[in-house]
């Protein structure tokens, strides 16, 4: 008898333990499943348009770009020549546009690295009267909409005879960019002061300290700057639109915008050209994800 009752009791307690255990666990599992479902749906929202675009870009000219139901993945048509056509088409040579964009980007890298590191060094590590005031001016210039300067800048460069060249798109970078100066300055402030002091005692000049001690330490933040610059040069539409008038000089953004707006374009070729524009930033994103996310995050936190 006794044994039986104790057996029963242990049964009950096991059942209770199970229910105590199972219900929260089941709830946890359901929550996890719901979480994954939402995340997967969101990934679909991001990825399906891209794979639809690839499908459309691989269709030959005589196949309509749409179909019912929509084809999300390329299955029957693989017209890879569309990419060749988009890249080498004599009317809209996207390969040429890509190279042009890279030339402007290269000029901007040189200009920005040169000017922004110098200016950031002064703000981060030198003491001078008016530094607080000038730093506030720097912050304010970030908030001034570019349109207030757009027309006079255009007239200035027109007067200088720079219209129709890359100079208006490159030269201003040699005067620094407030956002990048801010980013580099924040980074330079994190180094210990003893670094400068020790070098100064050893007889190093300010420029020497900048060039041989501070600058080499800045490599990580400069990588972030270069990635940001690539994305902004690659995507810039208004600047090139204002200053360039010759198809041979066009950047990829103008090429694509013109292709999409001029007349009813072949959708397969338009999608191929669009992929040409999308893929390099995506590649840069995959290779520089850590730097990019770290860079954006640090701006948001310190802003």
């Amino acid at each position: 008898m006794r044994g039986n009752s104790s057996l029963r009791q242990s049964h009950i307690s096991t059942a209770r333990r199970l229910s105590d255990d199972i219900i929260p666990r089941a709830r946890k599992l359901l929550r996890l499943l719901a979480l994954y479902a939402v995340l997967i749906a969101l990934c679909g929202f991001v990825l399906l348009p891209v794979s639809w675009m690839l499908t459309a870009a691989l269709k030959p000219d005589n196949v309509p770009f749409f179909s019912i139901p929509p084809q999300w993945f390329p299955t029957e048509h693989f017209e890879w020549r569309n990419f060749e056509t988009a890249l080498l088409d004599p009317v809209r040579p996207f390969l040429r546009f890509t190279l042009n964009t890279l030339i402007i980007f290269g000029g901007n890298v040189i200009g920005t690295i040169f000017s922004c590191t110098l200016v950031a060094y002064a703000f981060a590590r030198l003491r001078f009267r008016g530094s607080g005031f000038l730093f506030n001016v720097l912050i304010i210039t970030m908030l001034i909409p570019w349109q207030s300067q757009m027309i006079p800048q255009f007239l200035l460069f027109l007067e200088l005879g720079w219209y129709g060249t890359y100079l208006p798109l490159i030269v201003p970078s040699f005067a620094g960019n407030a956002f990048f100066i801010f980013l580099i300055r924040q980074y330079m402030r994190t180094f210990p002061r003893d670094l400068d002091e020790a070098a100064k005692i050893d007889g190093c000049s300010y420029f020497g300290i900048f060039r041989f001690i501070i600058l080499p330490l800045c490599r990580p933040v400069l990588a972030v700057v270069v990635v940001f610059m690539f994305l902004s040069s690659w995507g810039d539409l208004l600047g090139p639109l204002i200053y360039l008038n010759n198809t041979d000089q066009f950047t990829i953004a103008i090429g694509l915008a013109n292709f999409a707006t001029r007349y009813s374009p072949n959708t397969n070729l338009l999608m191929a050209a669009n992929l040409v524009m999308m893929i390099p930033p995506i590649l840069v994103f995959f290779f520089a994800q850590e730097q990019l996310i770290g860079g954006i995050a640090s701006v948001g936190l310190k802003g």
Binding site: P49, F66, I144, W146, P152, F207, L241, M277
Partner: protein
């Protein structure tokens, strides 16, 4: 002596920026004010017309329309982007397997240029044969919106495109979330707070600086929408007026119609409006933005 030298050197280092400040920013800002008082068209020498350009705006339908389009976009997009990117950040802050993959995918579109996003979505949102309306049709929506071909749905369509690339803002919120000291949550747990209360009284207040930062940068960006408008409104018709964003109108008046005086006046009006809106946002921020360590903001 040392101090003096340091100061001289500092200004030498600042020189590129100081020159740029005068030549590319302060000079042009003043010049644009002067140009806005002329009828400069590049073909004939500019005439002084006083405030005529500003008076002309009152009877300019394009001006009113572009202002309406821009404000509609600002008012509709900012709350949506804020709520969506904040929720997405909370979602991506969960510690589960495969999160790195989800984050990578969801951040990816934020690096794609506006022009390319607009080109892709203009095809996807085609009202008759576009994929979006096919999907909506297949889940039983008989009359899906006509998106870019409709006066009412054009702006929501642009916002939808923006949501595709909302990851940039999410990164900022995510960094903000990860920066919240864990001891605050521990203290809240000891006080018996439930998850909702923890969000309301710990997470949200601690995120207000990030929300404020996003609001300001979002405002600055919303007043300067151009790429999307240029690509989508370029073909004229309903689209052109429904998506005539302010900067597009300035561009057309200046660089297509050659009215540089009038275009300068238009840009000045926007700068003033944007400044007022941003200042109001800064003012209200004192009431709702919480800085944990006031002394260490730089």
């Amino acid at each position: 002596m040392m101090e003096r030298r340091e100061e001289r050197v500092a200004y030498l280092f600042l020189l590129p920026w100081l020159i740029g400040l005068v030549v590319f920013i302060i000079g042009p800002v003043i010049a644009s004010l002067l140009i806005s008082l002329t009828d400069w068209n590049l073909l004939t020498p500019p005439n002084w017309v006083g405030l005529k350009n500003y008076e002309k705006m009152f009877s300019d339908r394009d001006f009113y329309n572009s202002l309406r389009v821009t404000f509609r976009f600002v008012i509709m997009s900012l709350p949506i982007y804020t709520v969506v990117s904040l929720s997405l950040a909370l979602l991506l802050n969960q510690r589960i397997r495969g999160m790195y993959f989800f984050r990578t995918v969801l951040f990816m579109p934020s690096v794609i240029a506006g022009t390319a996003v607009a080109v892709l979505w203009s095809i996807l949102l085609n009202p008759d044969v576009g994929v979006v309306n096919q999907v909506l049709g297949s889940i039983g929506i008989a009359h899906p919106p006509r998106w870019l071909a409709s006066r009412d749905w054009a702006i929501p369509a642009v916002i939808l495109m923006g949501l595709w690339g909302v990851g940039g803002g999410v990164i900022i919120y995510l960094a903000g979330l990860q920066n919240i000291p864990p001891h605050l949550y521990e203290a809240a747990t000891i006080d018996g707070a439930n998850p909702r209360q923890k969000f309301r009284f710990v997470t949200l207040p601690m995120l207000t600086p990030s929300i404020f930062f996003q609001l300001i940068t979002g405002l600055v960006a919303a007043f300067q929408v151009f790429d999307v408008a240029y690509v989508l409104a370029g073909r004229g018709g309903t689209r052109a007026s429904a998506l005539q964003f302010y900067l597009l109108n300035v561009y057309e008046e200046g660089f297509q119609n050659g009215r540089f005086g009038y275009a300068s006046a238009l840009s000045w009006v926007l700068v003033v409006i944007a400044t007022i809106v941003i200042l109001i946002t800064f003012r209200t921020s004192e009431r709702w933005v919480y800085y944990e360590s006031e002394g260490d903001k730089a």
